[in-house]
Every structure is written in structure tokens, then in C-alpha cells.
Point group: C2
Chain length 406, copies 2
């Protein structure tokens, strides 16, 4: 650390102590009440000193839940002529940067620590696209589904938001250390790559709502209710690669789709119709057929006239995993790049889904949605990219080393 280390460390300790005090106080004040599913115990404290470990069996930024408030997704392309040696050097450097930044330290070459010391759960996650496998001479090792997702009927993909050899997903609860981390990572990648695309996303800030509440997307919908819990066996089975080559076990596959939302027409559609389309209530996220947010929609329920309360084309009916292999961890972010000069929205969701095998998860689920989903009235997929997420690395190692063989 720098000259200011002791003061900041003391501060972090104090804040940690405060968190404990505060957590106790608010848990008492905000006990769960029957009939009010949104009120849950709250632990609130200055969160700047919180860190997530970089080294481990899995990469960070996946089972880092709830997802941080801010994300930058970067799609980089390797310079022409890059081979395994260049990619190895790049990943060694970026892994070192990521480990330092996530622990609240500036990268090795940086003198000032000020923008690094409060990382606010900063995570850096690396993904390898098909172009990287090609560059290192291992084209055949890239899963077919990562090389090319099937074309779905409703896709309106723009190359501007698609593809990429190397993904960086950088997340933090604070946009300032996030901006710093992205800038330093890109700076170190700059001589070996070009920036294909940048996509910025946000979730509700950490603070306005209790952390245990499912975040709302720009439709106003609680989004992520069906996600497996952090650290659960279900998450492990859905997300982490268990069978496969050693360079892949402990990794995952990320599908990143840029989904434009037509927010003006959504706003003007009646509330009853919206809740029919979602099969869930907008306010609580509970099924329209009754129960609480974490209960499942029961498509067999009928209303007083004997009519089904849930349309066969309702979103959750179509999106729900029908087999364990279809399960994913959805870790999406809202984006807002609008308004356009004529005042129209340019907003939607960066849908980021992690799964052990996209061929058995994202592809069949999205196939069903593209075929029939009431929400297709308001959503359009305008960008698409898929990446192999290598497993995590140990201290002194770097992400992807087993694949790169250097």
C-alpha cells in the first residue's frame, strides 16, 4: 500500500465494525412481516472497503451475488498475428492487474492508490471468444455453441454489439473505482488488442433497497427471481463445467445478449396486460396465480370463469427451465444510451447468462422464447456474443494458463 495505507486500513476496520453494529440494529428494526414480502432484514454500511477474492477455483463476478450495481462489458479483439505467446503475456498481465485492483491496490505500474483503495466489491471476469481459440491454434477446442449461436427468428443483431475475441466483465458497486479499473486494464491490453465494443450496465444502487430484494429492470419488473442462490448446489450444477478438459473444468459459458426494450409502448400497455404477459405481478414479483415472489407460476390455475389465468405464451412459462440442463444464472444489467436526437429511448438489458453448457441451456430456452413469448412485443435482441469462461486461477497463476499451455 501507499503512504496512506495505515489510515485507510484503520478506516476499513472501523467500517467493518460499524457494519456489524448496523446489521444488528436494522435486523431488529426491519424484521420480516407476514404479508409484506418486500421487507427483509437489512445490513447497511459504507461498502467501499469490501473486496471479492480474485484467486480461486472459479473466476469472480459470476457467483458474486447480488450482482454489483455497475458493470462494464468490454469486447476486445486480438491484434492480427497474435499467437499463444502474446495471449499468454496478455492474460498474465491482466490477471495480475485484476488481482491487485480487486484487493484495493493499483496495478503494478501505477503510483497512485487513491482510486483503487475502495473497490466496492470490484470483480474482473475474463472470457475467451472463438477468435482467441483460433489465434492460439486451438480452434477445435472452442465449443461450437460459443463459436456460433444459432440464429433466432426475431434477432436483429448489429455487428457493433456482437462478437469479440476476449471479454472483460468488470463490476463494482461504485462507478469511480470501476472507471479506474476499466481504464487501467484497457491500458495494459491496448498494445495487443483493439476495443470492439463497450457496453455499460447498471442495477439499482446498493443502498436504496435492502440487498435481499430482487432488482428491478427498466420494465419495472423484479428480474432474477428464479436464479439459483449464491453458493447453492443448484448454482454449482447450472453454472460450472464439471465434465470436460482440465482447462475448462470449473469454468463456465457466458452468453451476452443486448436486448432493446420498447419502453414507450410497454408503458402504455395496460397493467393487467403486462402482468398477464409476465405471469407475475409488477409490484411484488409474485405469480398472478397467487403466492409470494419465490413461488412458481402455476399454469393450471383458472379464474372464476374457468379461463386459464396464465397464457401459454406468458414469459415465465416459456422461459422456465424444463430440465436441470436448461438452468442458467442470469446476471443481467440495464443499459440506457438514450434518448436519441428525436427523443426516443435507447435502453434495455444486457442479458448476461452463465451456464455450464449454452447448447443445453440458453439455446433451447431462447429457442422457445423466439418462437413464442408475449414479451417479444417489447424486446428485440440487437447484440450477441458468447465466451468460454476459463476456471479461476491460483495466486501466482493467470486465467487461461492451462489452455494456453505456456
Amino acid at each position: 500500500m501507499s503512504a496512506l495505507g495505515p489510515s485507510l486500513r484503520r478506516r476499513a476496520l472501523l467500517l467493518g465494525g460499524a457494519a456489524a453494529v448496523v446489521g444488528g440494529g436494522t435486523a431488529a428494526a426491519l424484521a420480516v412481516r407476514d404479508g409484506d414480502p418486500e421487507v427483509r432484514p437489512v445490513a447497511v454500511a459504507p461498502v467501499g472497503a469490501e473486496t471479492v477474492p480474485f484467486h480461486g477455483v472459479h473466476q469472480p463476478g459470476i457467483d458474486t451475488l447480488p450482482a454489483q450495481a455497475h458493470a462494464v462489458f468490454l469486447g476486445l479483439d486480438l491484434n492480427p498475428g497474435s499467437g499463444p505467446a502474446e495471449v499468454g503475456r496478455l492474460m498474465r498481465l491482466l490477471s495480475d492487474d485484476a488481482a491487485r485492483l480487486m484487493s484495493g491496490r493499483a496495478p503494478l505500474a501505477a503510483e497512485d492508490q487513491e482510486l483503487a483503495v475502495l473497490p466496492s466489491r470490484l470483480t474482473v471476469t475474463f472470457g475467451f471468444g472463438a477468435g482467441l481459440f483460433d489465434a492460439i491454434g486451438r480452434a477445435g477446442d472452442c465449443p461450437a455453441v460459443v463459436r456460433e449461436l444459432p440464429a433466432f427468428p426475431a434477432d436483429r443483431l448489429d455487428p457493433r454489439w456482437s462478437g469479440g475475441d476476449l471479454l472483460l466483465q468488470v463490476c463494482s458497486d461504485d462507478p469511480v473505482p470501476l472507471a479506474y479499473a476499466v481504464r487501467r486494464l484497457v491500458r495494459d491490453a491496448r498494445s495487443m488488442t483493439s476495443v470492439r465494443w463497450v457496453q455499460r450496465g447498471f442495477n439499482p444502487a446498493r443502498g436504496p433497497e435492502p440487498a435481499a430484494v430482487t432488482p428491478r429492470n427498466l420494465f419495472g419488473q423484479r428480474d432474477g427471481t428464479a436464479n439459483p442462490a449464491s453458493g447453492s448446489p443448484e448454482l454449482a450444477e447450472s453454472v460450472w463445467v464439471r465434465d470436460g478438459p482440465s482447462w475448462f473444468v470449473g469454468g463456465s459459458v457466458l452468453v451476452l445478449r443486448r436486448i432493446r426494450m420498447d419502453l414507450d409502448t410497454w408503458d402504455d400497455f395496460g397493467r393487467v396486460g403486462k402482468e398477464m404477459a409476465l405471469a407475475r405481478r409488477l409490484d411484488t414479483g409474485a405469480p398472478v396465480t397467487g403466492g409470494g415472489e419465490f413461488d412458481e407460476v402455476d399454469p393450471r390455475v383458472v379464474d372464476e370463469r374457468g379461463m386459464p389465468m396464465v397464457a401459454a405464451s406468458a414469459h415465465v412459462v416459456r422461459a422456465k427451465a424444463r430440465t436441470p440442463a436448461e438452468r442458467m444464472l442470469r446476471r443481467g444489467y440495464s443499459y440506457d444510451d438514450g434518448p436519441t436526437p428525436d427523443g426516443a429511448p435507447d435502453a434495455g438489458q444486457l442479458f448476461a447468462a452463465y451456464q455450464a453448457d449454452a447448447a443445453t441451456a440458453f439455446v433451447p430456452v431462447q429457442g422457445r422464447l423466439a418462437e413464442s413469448d408475449v414479451m417479444n412485443l417489447w424486446v428485440t435482441h440487437v447484440g450477441s456474443a458468447a465466451f468460454v469462461i476459463p476456471p479461476g486461477c491460483a495466486d501466482g497463476e493467470f486465467v487461461g494458463r492451462a489452455l494456453l499451455g505456456t
Copy 2:
């Protein structure tokens, strides 16, 4: 409110109660310690239900301090042919939207409340550019300095980030209600305006650091140390128009400059040199000549060799108000629209300064800085706009009515 009103109102009450509990607990845990200027009492709680009143003598979003974590600045142009009647209708509609949104309600025409109920200190501030004065047939009432700021030697202004008939400054601690508010406001302005520019800014999130700490900009510098305190007589004298026509008294003038920062060369400049350029320490913000953050830099101090410790061209020396009339409230935000395809940063500051008279405040201060400021090595002004900020309005009224005479 909607059907979910009672539940959410109860929640807001609970959160408010928790804030009181928590505030007491943490203030005890985090008492100020001598010699550690960064540790201050902290009040931490879910902040979503916090609101700022729209109606009042002054518009909100100016003496709303600390500045919220997120801001969107929108420069709108009136449709050709707009007159006082059209502008009056527009301002009546937007003022009503702003009052509702700031109090946690959706605009009148919107059915769903979900994205509005947790405004997180949302504020909407309106400013009138020269083009609006022209449109309403009162060109002569626009202060000359708002019509045209002088050209400064180092300016590299891009029309893409300059000018505008009507300013909307929308701020919140949470990007989700902010995105909702901007979208709804633009939607209601859309038939009468076009969007000239959108500039998004951020400050450190609310939460990672105690609220009383001065935020850091992307140079890593604590920025805003010299600002007058909220509600202070000094702020009132610096910011609010006291002498002038009745439509202007209680208002202010906003100068918004987009200042690009050359962050890579800044990073590589030595720490000693940076602190010399700023005349303040990077870590604490205290003068290099000694003292704490809120002490003034003393340019007369010499080092052990008898050399001045502060260069005559140091930023704070040049930027410091030399008369009361030069004082401003700086309410800036960082922006980050990078990296560019070649990996270069595209980042800096949205410098937003409020003052009673820009001709006696921003203009002479910026004149000095443009003439000589070490920081000119790293900053370039690339956008510029100035607006009359009308006074606030009472319930049932709208912003600008006295000027519009409708």
C-alpha cells in the same frame, strides 16, 4: 398511488425508522478521531425513500448536497416556431412531472409506479438558454454571459457538447429511478423539442464512503473542498440571484463545461509533480503546505531551501476566488464514455458551476486558468453551455412562469 401504495408506504416508514436507529448506532461507532480526518460520523440506511422537495424559493438540484451519485444533463432545442405559449405548456407539463417524480410518484399519464417509488433524492433542475429567450420574444432579457461565454485560449469546443435552448439536469443516488425520470421527462418534451446532447455523469456511489467526505474525481483528487456549505450564507450569496428582475431573483446561472482529462499522462506524471500542480495532497486533499483538507493553501510557505512550496501556476492558486463575487458552487460529475476503439480514455469531468452572475464568477476565474494553470497539461474544455436557472416555483405553479408571462 397504485394498489401497492400501502405496502410501499409502510416500507418507506420502516426504512425511515431504520435510518434513525442506524444513524445513532453508527455515529457512536464512528466518532471523529483526532489525526484521522477521513473518519467521520456516518449515517447509513437504505436511501431509496429519501425525497427532495420540488417546490420552493429555489430550484432543487443546486443546494442539494452532497450531489447525488448520478446525473444526466440534457440539452434540448425547441422546435422551430415555438413561442411563449408553447414554452409555457412545456414548462407546465415538465414541472408537474418533476414534482411527481421527485416525490416518488410516476407522471400523471403513467399507470405503473414501480420505478418511481424509490427516487433516492431525485432532483430535476431546469435552465433556459439564449435560444429560449429568443423564442419567447425576450432576447434582450438573456444575460450576455449566458448568450455567449467568452472564448478562452485553450478551448477546443465541439458543437456536439455545446449550447441548447433548455437544460434538464436530473440527478439521483440510484441510476434506475434516474433512467425512468429522464425517459418520462423526455417523452413529455418530445413533441416540442429535439435532443441536442445528453451527458451522463457520476460521483462516488452513496455508501462506499461516509457522506461527509469530499468526492474524488478521475484524477484521484478530492474535488469540491472549497465549496460553500449547504444552506450557508456564503452559498446563498454566491449562488442565488438577489438583485434583478423578479423572474430571476432566487434563480442562478449554470455554466456547464465538458472537460476532457488526459488520464494516461496524468497517471504517469510523478506523484510529487501532481501534488505540486494541485498544491494539495492526493490522499487527504490537504494543502501541501500543511494543515487539513479544509485549510487553505498558503502560497507564501517556503521549503527548507527557501523555495516556494506552491507554484504561482498551481491550480488552487489560480482557481481560488479572489473576491466574493468570484465564488461559485461547483457541482461537477465525472464522465467516462471510453475507451475509444484504439483503447484510449474518453473521460473527464462535467464541470457544473452555479453562481449568481457568471460574468463576475466563472468568466474571470476561467480566464485566469486558461491563461496559466499547470492542470492545462491534462485538461481540455471540449463542451460549453450556459443557462439561466429560474427561481423555484410554488405548488400549482411552474418553473419560468414569471418570465413566460402566461
